[in-house]
């Protein structure tokens, strides 16, 4: 049951004096079970695109299809749809508001009209998924825990709705390395357990490690799309757009340029290490 974007276009303040086209003619299919990374320069339309996936923004033209049904068609229950496509905004901890962590995470399930037993189960489940100790933290105020924990509480608040698709807008922005790694592990586990994930990110090494597919936006248009090895293989184009490539690719390229070991682009540092090791064991200079 994929999400299909069909010639999706959004123009801010259409007809006004400062009309700006945020995204234009996007055709994209998000398949079940994939982890799609959306990358692109600031202002390339990534966040706008993300907000179309659960009907928070209405396209100026084009359609968003979930299970083959236009989510913006008249008579569609957009609220029900939002429980299926969970959207985690940038800095989601800014949306915490309840007295206790438990109540905040329960906000989504409560809006779904679930029974209190079901809500309880979901809150516990969601906290477990993001590695928050239930007993220790559930009764505390969400404003008195650490920044990384606040982020995970906010994420749990969306996960508690058990969405089939999880859309994350720069989930690791502003986190320290440890909190970042923990969060990325959570995301990876969710994906392995079958949740479709769409993730906006600027951290190319994270993208290289997690994504099964990458879509590149530039000035509101979809300019590249494919598995990581294909997209990161187009090094020059990405650099020209002002985007990074993973360190593995950069290092391999640099080594080739200076006439060092001629190893192929490896977008993961681990596989680069393997290639280098194989090269060194092979006795230096001759290996391809």
């Amino acid at each position: 049951m994929p999400i299909v974007l069909d010639k999706l276009t959004h123009i801010y303040q259409q007809g006004g004096p400062v009309a700006t086209t945020a995204i234009e003619g996007i055709d994209l299919v998000i398949d079940d079970g994939e982890l799609l990374a959306l990358i692109g320069h600031t202002g390339s339309g990534k966040s706008t695109l993300a907000q179309h996936l659960n009907g928070l923004m209405k396209p100026t033209s084009g359609r968003v299809l979930l299970d083959g049904r236009d989510i913006n068609a008249k008579g569609e229950d957009t609220r029900r749809l939002r429980f299926q496509v969970g959207l985690v905004f940038q800095y989601p901890e800014h949306q915490l508001f309840e007295e206790t962590v438990y109540k905040d995470i329960a906000f989504g399930p409560k809006n779904m009209g679930l029974s209190s037993e079901e809500i309880d189960e979901r809150v516990r489940g969601a906290m477990d998924m993001v590695g928050l100790p239930f007993e220790e933290i559930q009764g505390r105020s969400p404003f008195e825990v650490s920044g990384g924990q606040m982020r995970r509480i906010a994420l749990a608040g969306v996960l508690a709705m058990r969405p089939r698709v999880l859309v994350l807008d720069e989930p690791t922005a502003g986190l320290d390395p440890r909190a970042r790694d923990l969060l990325l592990q959570d995301i990876q586990r969710l994906h392995k357990e079958g949740t479709t994930v769409v993730m906006i990110s600027h951290a190319m090494d994270d993208v290289a490690r997690l994504a099964t597919r990458i879509a590149v936006l530039e000035k509101g248009r979809l300019v590249m799309e494919g598995p990581p090895e294909v997209v990161f293989g187009r090094f020059e184009e990405l650099t020209r757009m002002g985007l990074d490539v993973p360190q593995g690719c950069q290092l391999a390229r640099r080594l080739r340029e200076i006439g060092g070991p001629q190893i192929p682009d490896c977008y993961l540092l681990e596989s680069l290490a393997d290639s280098l090791a194989a090269f060194l064991k092979g006795g230096g200079g001759d290996a391809a």
């Binding site: 907000q51 949306q95 915490l96």
Partner: protein, 266 residues
Amino acid sequence: MLRDITLGQYYPVDSPVHRLDPRTKIILTVLFIIAVFMASQLYLYVFILGFLSLAVYLSRLPARMIIRSIRPMRILLVFTFILNLFFGTGETALFRIGPVVIWQEGLMNALHFTLRLIFLVMGSSVLTLTTSPVTLTDGLETLASPLKVIKFPAHEMAMMMTIALRFIPTLVEEADKIMKAQTARGADFESGNLMARARAMVPLLVPLFVSAFRRAGDLAMAMEARCYHGGEGRTRLHVLKIGRGDVVAFLVMAALYLLLLLPRWL
């Protein structure tokens, strides 16, 4: 949804009126309002209309913006007119419908008060449309600074106004974002009765207040880091200067006063 809110209605074009010193414009607006109340005969409003038209013409504001400025007042205007018309008493009855008498004095009063209100609102609109909020607070600060003698905190007032105005768009944007985030969690801001709607605002207002306090703390820190310690000894980037245009503007105002006062002396 929230982005449509516009506060402060500055109309940014370049014109002789826009370039006037804000202090001149504030004083002239006050003088204009006094002038409006000095008009003792109906025909004198022609001069006031003439002055206002001149100001609007020179400021290159679209006339419909000025006319639109009285729209929020329309109910008050109608009430003012009707109340004065029907409940005034006088000596000359114009006509009577059953028990209701329309007096000539009542009609005159009704016209006077309605016209005065219209001109009052239009006149102050010219001020806010041609002066950016920051310039306006600058002008107010300078005008109020003599009051420092009686411990009136002119600088602090102006700084607070400037900061408040500066953060309105930021907070609107923030509110929009939080609203969307809660909507994504199934919050419903648009349906239900009054109580349900009020309760639905909690998930919006709590994060908004938290973020406003955080921003206020950050701003205070940033201001202190740049050695802000109040208005004492503080110099300005844009020093207010009275130019030739300001003198001309005052002369035109003097002419208006002359026209309004002449009939009293003759």
